[in-house]
Symmetry: C2
Subunit: 254 residues, 2 copies
Amino acid sequence: MTRYKAIISYDGTNYAGFQIQPNAVTIQEVIEATLKRLNSGKPVTIHPSGRTDSGVHAVGQVIHFDLPQKRDVEKLRFALDTQTPEDISILSIEEVTEDFHARYLATGKEYHYHVDTGKSPNPFKRLYAAHFRYELDLESMRRAARFIEGEHDFSVFCATGSSVEDKTRTVYSVTIEEVGEDELLFIFKGNGFLYKMVRMLVGTLLKIGNGQLPEDAIQRALANQDKKMTGPTAQPEGLFLMKVDYNGEKKCHK
Amino acid sequence: MTRYKAIISYDGTNYAGFQIQPNAVTIQEVIEATLKRLNSGKPVTIHPSGRTDSGVHAVGQVIHFDLPQKRDVEKLRFALDTQTPEDISILSIEEVTEDFHARYLATGKEYHYHVDTGKSPNPFKRLYAAHFRYELDLESMRRAARFIEGEHDFSVFCATGSSVEDKTRTVYSVTIEEVGEDELLFIFKGNGFLYKMVRMLVGTLLKIGNGQLPEDAIQRALANQDKKMTGPTAQPEGLFLMKVDYNGEKKCHK
């Protein structure tokens, strides 16, 4: 048996998220069906660094899977890349040791969230950004974002439906950049993120920026697990899993 | 009667081009249906600077139309923008004199063509760029592009089906830029372009860059109207109509 690590990218628009489920097309299902064909019809299970939700995108998702024999990794990558639909891309495949695990060994993740702030929603961003047409105080949001950084119990920013017990995570940095005239880019780096945590944090930051929540709302939400100090979950289409780090790659965390 | 000029943007992916036709959804049909609702049910015809083909996008298409009465242009823009689908955006509307005509008075146009040159096609560019995975000699393409500039009879770069008689056009400039690691951007500026002319020129430049046509293929194609010296028509999804100039806006043409 040989274990492979792959970096994959996908446009989540047309999928009901990563994980296999009945009556809906998912990333996992499509990739596993292709791997099965490439494995003489024998099923192959893929394991991601973490699930992504319906409509959420990935630029650098990591998965691992096992095949009974050694393969030429570039041939395998090409076959998998060209036999999956155009909205899924296999960027790289490498052979790894059998103790590699895409989820358990992940030491850090980076997410981007795009917000289209144009007066009129940009047609080319409609599937890749949330549109927010109201006033935003960028400096206020940046000050509020400081409260996210560090080690916290993020339970109040975890959607129901999560089976994770320990909800303590360390967020290395949250930055908010202006991209062109009409776009904000939120960059989250941390050792891990809870179910819908990034989207709930963005929804809260937007409410703070718009003056509907106080600037210290996140501090208060975390200190008292106070749901009233949180905003709505921002739409899935703005969210991109950019990369996943493993041991020894911590240099990316600044 | 009051005439209005509007700048509109659309993602052409889900449309059979601009112009109304039976049994297919077009940009014109969708905008006219919305304008009709905003005009007490009376039909309104829109006139574009030029048609765009199925799958082609626009960032700054210009249209004009007439309404029986004066309107607050921002209210009209907002109504039209919010009542059209998300892949069509109405960027601005202004009142113009009755002699304004979006097509006849256009003095220049700018088109962009995006080519994804990544080893693996980028899922996020699949609807907005053509994928070209083979070797390209950028400098050779840039030298070849010089032959496009100036006033020429571009008949050999006009697809059949055009009813235009005079096929002489002036191309102000053709530039090819590298965007990031895996993308080429072709920028065409000229006083006008024939049916599928930009896509035929891009298809020819790619063949030149890949060594399948000589570097002077465009010069020879134009000099002798020699179809054998032209490449295929590049895919529609890479093409964007960026802006349309009218008298007095020539400053944009560098």
